[in-house]
Amino acid sequence: MLTYKIKVSEKEGIFDAVGHGALKDIQDLGIQGVRQVHFALLYYINGDVNQAQITRIAEELLIDKITQEYAISEGRGTRDERRVVEIAYNQGVMDPVEESVLKAISDMGINGVISVRTAKQYYLEGEFSEDTAKIISEKLLYNKVIQHVANRGTKDEGRGAKDEADYKFKLITVDLLSASDKKLREISKQGQLFLNLSEMRQIKNYFKSLGRNPTDCELETIAQTWSEHCRHKTFRGKIEYREVTTSQGHKVTSSKKIINNLLKSTIMKVTKELNKHWCVSVFKDNAGIIKFNDNYNICFKVETHNHPSALEPFGGANTGIGGVIRDPLGTGLGAKPIFNTDVFCFGMPDYPQGKLPQGVLHPKRVAKGVVAGVKDYGNKMGIPTVNGAVLFDEGYLANPLVYCGTAGIIPKDKCFKKVNKGDLIVVVGGRTGRDGIHGATFSSGELTHESEQASSGAVQIGNPITEKKILDTLMQARDKNLYRAITDCGAGGLSSAIGEMGEESGARVDLEKAPLKYHGLSYAEIWISEAQERMVLAVPKEKREKLLALFASENVEATVIGEFTGTKRLELFYQGNKVSDVEMKFLHNGLPQITKKAIWKQPRFKEPDFDCPQDLTDNLKKILSHYNVASKEWIIRQYDHEVQGGSVLKPLVGVSNDGPSDAAIVKPLLASSKGVIVSCGINFKFGLIDPYQMAASSIDEALRQIIAVGGSLKEVALLDNFCWGNPDKPDRLGSLVRAALACYKTAKGFGIPFISGKDSFYNEYSVNGKSKSIPGTLLISAIAVMDDVSKAVSMDIKKSGDLIYIVGDTYPELGGSYYFDTLGFIGNNVPKVNVKRAKALMDALSKATNRGFVRAAHDCSEGGIAVALAEMAFAGGLGLEVFLGEVPYKTRDEGRGTKDEGRKTKNAARNDFVLFSESNSRFIVEVEKSKQKEFEKAMQGVSFGLIGCVSGGRNLKAYGLDGRPCVEADIYDLKEAWQKPLRWG
């Protein structure tokens, strides 16, 4: 048996894209001295093959004859060049290309190959020290969570995982019965169970009543089932809530409010009370389902994958999108994914390297890795990524947020599942390995600088092609009625999937039957592994052969590993030995009810006090260049946003296909005129001042984007995704409660139900025992059914001579605005939502658009009117002239006291406030002159103003309240200011 090394590199004179990219990143890092980087891919091929066969493999398979060359050596060989860095995957980490290379070799009729591992080789040219080479490797070339530098002389050959000794069964029990409280805490901590003392005591009592200690497997199962990640203890528990607000300079403490189950009393309550007939399945399944047409429904789910992305951005985001795609697949009897969304929050991309806390990756590296991870998985799955947002703030430095969403289409008679007694448990897809152990519990704790070592097993790499094969096969199996229920293996692996499916009936599993990636896994590891790309089916016995044959015909592994029993117990065996036997009732309902304290103290930020500058052009440019406002084209283009052919309104629109669309419209059925609109609202800055207004504003934002593209509020559903800090800390929980209360009030007022959601807590990072939380961040995603996609409008200005309107009132609401941000302030007067008026206004505008009176519409959000006008102008390539005096501007309103404002900014009607206020429920609308009367009639009863016209040419000009120009700029300069910051090459 021999290991051959085949080195594949570009021929002389051929562009070395990877090497070139690495060099750019090195220079970005500020490192001097490296002149050039040469990249090569190494294949280590192990097996019974001769030299001639290896040559054939190299020549006919591994190289592209036109551009590449190869070199073969036996064994790893000695390294003579000091500056060669070779990066290989760690033991137990799946090599993403191994399976397909093995397949291709056997296609060639060569059968002796046993394993293929790959490694990356970088040859650095230039004058620099050994230390610099080390820094480059660590900062850029590899991530120790999944990879290592294959050092000279080490004999790891990359095939270690395969050589691991077989596992010998030994039942492990954990001594709880004799454990003191201190010991219980220790057991929880050492086992990474993340269970608190009262939970540990409950488990101890249960096993006391059984007269025995739990096995490791039982304890793990309970910990995972009871984890915050799976159980949503915070949202479903009991909360004591108080508010401390300031009124006329005095602190007012509200009385204590007891909330039993925050989820049921806010988010789910909206849906229940609205009771929409088109809500098909809500809060029950892996995704919420609404009606699409007479034959099909649509489902939608958004998840987060924050902790893994902090440690391994590519793998974390990769498996994040892979995981959320399995949600529609596991909804009802399986939905076909129709689009993905993604929203990211990162630290500032220009954060100084030297100031990074220990163990924290640089935000730019995180951002690039996350984008690459989403791109890789989404594109390879053939699902268009059509909508999203990217935000940067120092608060996300150690805890990036990665929200991934997937919607699917499902025949209406396939929306429900039922497990019957006697159904077989079949696991399909990828094999089980040691990857992703403890993911569910890991995400239920805070990150520290040790997380990358302690929890490295929690980070996984995805294999999108395996998941694509599952999708292709599953849709056929579904339509042939070959199974009765399905769910995905997500956090908690088989434990979670089978535990959930078997809740009513009970389940028996023979763990040794699960197909493994390599030997050596214990029964407990098999049970809790979170290896990716696996689904669990409940298959009627008589369908067994058909189902297995179908999966085999598409080269997807499917294995019967047990049965749903009817005993109402979870019974696990390994080679005939019982390793778990607990009641489903205890597993699912045994969790002790906990009470958490929550308090929200209204913060007080410095109120700026300055005169309004006469010329605001530079202020506008600064806001356009803010990372959070700037064009995200660099990211968007790397996603295939048009695969499946149903893209009606793309994320980039306008005369040069580069303006920021408000929402995306997708046709899930190409032959139908119906479409689905997707949008999102997120604004953590408002939450710094008041989480209530953040939540209300986010809902308003998501809805107004739907209206802006020509949708209506008739059939819209919302998803909530709360990313917060540690909910055991009363201040963190207090702001969460306040945001959830707003979700109820606002969504109810709009008449828009929530259909699903998810929370992610413990987004905190501790250094030296001091813990820092992310800003509480709520993402609202909205999905709407559109009857006729030909009514869609885009935000780009269309024609010279058209009229420009603003719809909605503007208030001096600059708190949390980007105008204040660029001046170094936060402020206090945060935008609010008058739901009743907002709804009337959106309904009116929607009708006007539907009747064809609207040429373009864009919602006012970050940067207010000014940014909306600028974006519309440069997207359309046409100049505008507007008069701020025509903007309906209100300095006072019920409940909108401005008494807290600074002296000069008090009650002021000022050009800067009119231009940059981020008041909600506003749109800029372009109307053809000949439609003026009809449009204005349609908008009767709603606040609007005719503020200007499309002047053509290249200028954006705004006349201030005094009639003098306050903004005058070339729209292409504005566009450059907007495009430059995130043009990452």
Binding site: A17, V18, A104, K468, K650
Partner: protein, 264 residues
């Protein structure tokens, strides 16, 4: 009778549905056939008129885009493919399909199925989804020999979405030969049909090559996606330029169907 198109599927194929939709709109009858079905002979290539290799990431594009499926086609179905081509039938490869045809040696095509051209990593070193203009051969003063590109407007607007689309030939002589044979049937250009650099040529292809055909004109490969502009509402600017019923790409599918109806 409707011409029968075989839309080939394997792990990672993903533009099959919309490509079949466009073909059906153009009048073909499409069947989705997994490569295993051809290998185990439950399906026979010879019973179809058109072989369609759609876009996607066959086998994850591991090793290089399209390489593993190209390898599989060559070794497992080489003879069937040769017979299919010999009998005068049609093949179209879009995006990943073009990469497969090139790497299997079916384009530009020779008897030994030796690879002579490639589609390699974009000069921008990244995957990009963007709309491009491509022009046919009309401006060169000659009628195209390619079955698939007849009657196209002078400049055609289609999206590309790939990371490995840079066309390269093994040498200058071959490139010259392709030029003089009239096998280069689509070239990236600007909206006026003029040669322009990046991003008009989105990947750095030699001679702005976006699509080529074999010597017979019946095997056609292109990087842009005609199925993504077969209908007016797929156009990125229909909201400003007006909604047309069909898109530029549909003609390509119609050409295939018409040819099959007439000659096969």
């Amino acid at each position: 009778m409707k011409p029968r198109a075989l839309v080939l599927r394997t792990a990672g194929t993903n533009c099959d549905k919309e490509t079949a939709f466009a073909f059906s709109e153009a009048g073909a009858e499409c069947a989705f056939v997994h490569i295993n079905e051809l290998k185990n002979k439950t399906q026979r290539l010879s019973e179809y008129h058109i072989l369609v290799l759609s876009g996607g990431f066959s086998y994850g594009d591991d090793i290089a885009a399209g390489k593993i499926l190209a390898n599989e086609l060559k070794y497992a179905l080489g003879n069937e493919l040769k017979a299919f081509i010999k009998s005068g039938k049609l093949i179209i490869g879009i995006c990943n399909g073009f990469q497969i045809l090139a790497k299997a040696g079916l384009l530009p095509g020779n008897d030994t199925l030796e690879q002579e051209v490639t589609l390699t990593i974009n000069d921008s070193a990244k995957f990009e989804d963007r709309w491009v203009y491509v022009r046919g051969m009309r401006d060169e003063g000659r009628e195209t020999k390619c079955v698939w590109t007849k009657g196209l407007p002078e400049v055609v607007y289609l999206p590309v979405a790939h990371g490995e689309g840079k066309f390269m030939s093994k040498d200058k002589a071959l490139l010259q030969q392709l030029e003089s044979n009239g096998q280069i049937v689509l070239r990236y250009c600007d909206e006026k049909g003029e040669t322009a650099g990046y991003p008009a040529n989105p990947n750095g292809s030699e001679n702005d090559i976006a699509g080529i055909c074999d010597i017979t004109g019946r095997i056609f490969g292109l990087m842009p996606h005609p199925e993504r502009h077969s209908f007016g509402w797929q156009h990125p600017r229909w909201t400003r330029e007006g909604l047309r019923k069909t898109g530029d790409g549909l003609q390509i599918f119609r050409n295939g169907v018409e040819y099959a109806k007439k000659y096969l």
